[in-house]
């Protein structure tokens, strides 16, 4: 069956099978391999993307459910060749080790900061509680979200 959706601002028409997951559509059909498959059952958060301004585990969404939707993946975060402030903060703070959880972590951070540009530490922890990381111990990930929030706040003020 044919579905139409917007991925990272680009309209795409894709032929999918009924059982195709959004994760497979992104990785296999569109070649967007930044989104990772961890557990494949919605427990680890590695496949997190933003669908219609909400976080979803793309392994639990069927591609047909994403018909007419708007999807944002890690590949759509940077503006031209510039990394998004969240990506830069993750690098600066040493928040990336093996990196497998990071696309999901960054999408959850994006959603959190879109909703609340000045989160407390407890709010950051709640916002990222669906993303498992085995390497970092999360400390530097929290630092990175704080730094990104700070940068994005001051950038917002510059715009005004």
């Amino acid at each position: 069956m044919k579905i139409t959706l917007t991925v990272n601002g680009e309209k795409r028409e894709v032929e999918v099978k009924p059982q195709t997951r959004l994760l497979d559509l992104l990785r296999e059909d569109l070649g967007l391999t930044g989104t990772k498959e961890g557990c494949g059952k919605g427990e680890c958060g590695a496949c997190t993307v933003i669908m219609n301004n909400k976080l979803v585990a793309s392994c639990l969404v069927l591609a047909v459910q994403a018909d007419q939707s708007e999807i944002l993946t890690i590949e759509g975060l940077n503006c031209q060749d510039e990394l998004h402030p969240i990506q830069n903060a993750f690098i600066n703070k040493g928040a990336v080790q093996c990196g497998f959880c990071i696309p999901g972590m960054i999408m959850s951070s994006k959603q959190l900061l879109d909703e609340n540009i000045n989160p407390t530490e407890a709010e950051i922890k709640r916002g990222l509680s669906g993303n498992i990381c085995r390497c970092t111990g999360y400390v530097k990930i929290i630092d990175a979200v704080k730094e990104a929030a700070h940068k994005m706040r001051s950038r917002g003020e510059d715009d005004v």
Partner: protein
């Protein structure tokens, strides 16, 4: 009721294979004519920052900005054996191989540089990728220009080094030898917890760490290893339980086999002890595995401090806490 407890543990960890195993690592460095320094190593970076560390070591010895250094390899097709990324060994073994290869190349820079300037080689100044004649600071040549000159002579600014330390087979009866491992890492952790005596749930509040790292080549990465290793250790101490029935794991998923989430982590305060007391590069020691080990005993000691019960199995789940408290009351 929440009861507070504080526990401490100190560990020592001999790293590398040691014990008579022919453990070694080979690295190669080449200064090219097109403004790049190629560093060949087959060592695998699994996120701990191996490549960053190797680049820093090469840049330090070669007195040049790290942005000029390009890694080639990460596999044994393009580079010679660096050994496995395991046994907490890469910084020590590959770090030494990279340092030695860089020192060899530095020797060539001095050798060919002194011929170029017609001077005695100790009288050269080498910094920021440039070589200066000592008696005339205006006269200088870049590494890349020197590489071109050396190439014309049919040679190149390239060297390979193998770090291959002697290791000792332990005595079969006593388990002792002159030195079972190439070096030892020490770490002490103090961990504060709060035990909820109604639910049996343990919350880890603070982790204070003193890590004998020899030399922290990249302090940010060392702190990352401490935090990551300790949180894995806290998982082992408190939640990670593989349940096997009739040879089959019955909890092979993250809903039933719990690993720490971002909600489970404590506050960290860490001190790096840099005594430079190993034969590693700049005195550095391996820290990967050691950072995980102290969490379990420190938490168990903290539980004893909080509720007066000695727990001798892992993980220390709420059920174990409640059963122990009940046994104590009876």
């Amino acid at each position: 009721m929440r009861k507070k407890g504080r526990g401490m543990a100190t560990i020592m960890f001999g790293f590398g294979y040691g014990e008579g195993f022919p453990d070694h690592s080979i690295a190669e460095i080449e200064i090219t004519t097109d403004q790049k320094i190629k560093l060949r190593t087959a060592g695998a970076d699994v996120g701990q920052g191996f490549l960053t560390t190797m680049i820093q070591i090469a840049a330090e010895v070669l007195k040049i900005d790290s942005s000029y250094i390009e890694i080639v390899g990460q596999d044994t097709h393009q580079a010679k054996n660096s050994g496995s990324t395991s046994a907490t060994r890469q910084t020590f073994f590959s770090g030494n191989a990279v340092r030695e290869a860089a020192e060899e190349v530095m020797g060539m820079i001095y050798h060919h540089g002194s011929i170029y300037f017609n001077s005695n080689h100790p009288e050269l100044t080498v910094k920021d990728g440039e070589i200066y004649a000592c008696d005339n600071k205006e006269e200088k040549i870049s590494y890349w220009e020197l590489a071109e000159i050396v190439k014309q002579k049919g040679d190149n600014l390239q060297a390979e080094a193998s770090f291959f330390p002697k290791t000792y087979v332990p005595d079969e009866k006593t388990g002792q030898s002159e030195k079972n491992y190439v070096a030892y890492t020490f770490m002490t952790q103090v961990i504060d917890i709060e035990v909820d005596t109604d639910t049996g749930i343990i919350e880890v509040m603070n982790v204070y760490t003193a890590l004998d790292v020899g030399k922290a080549i990249n302090p940010q990465n060392v702190h990352g290893q401490i935090e990551g290793g300790t949180v894995q250790g806290l998982g082992m101490a408190l939640m990670e339980e593989q349940v096997i029935k009739n040879g089959i794991t019955i909890n092979p998923d993250m809903t039933n086999y719990l690993v720490p989430s971002i909600q489970d982590i404590p506050e960290f305060e860490s001190t790096l002890i840099e005594n430079e007391d190993s034969d590693g590069p700049f005195g550095a020691k391996g820290i990967g595995e050691p950072t995980l080990i102290a969490a379990c005993p420190a938490v168990a000691n903290a539980v004893y401090d909080a509720i007066g019960v000695r727990i001798t199995s892992l993980p220390i789940t709420p059920e174990i806490i409640l059963n122990s408290l009940e046994e104590n009351n009876n």
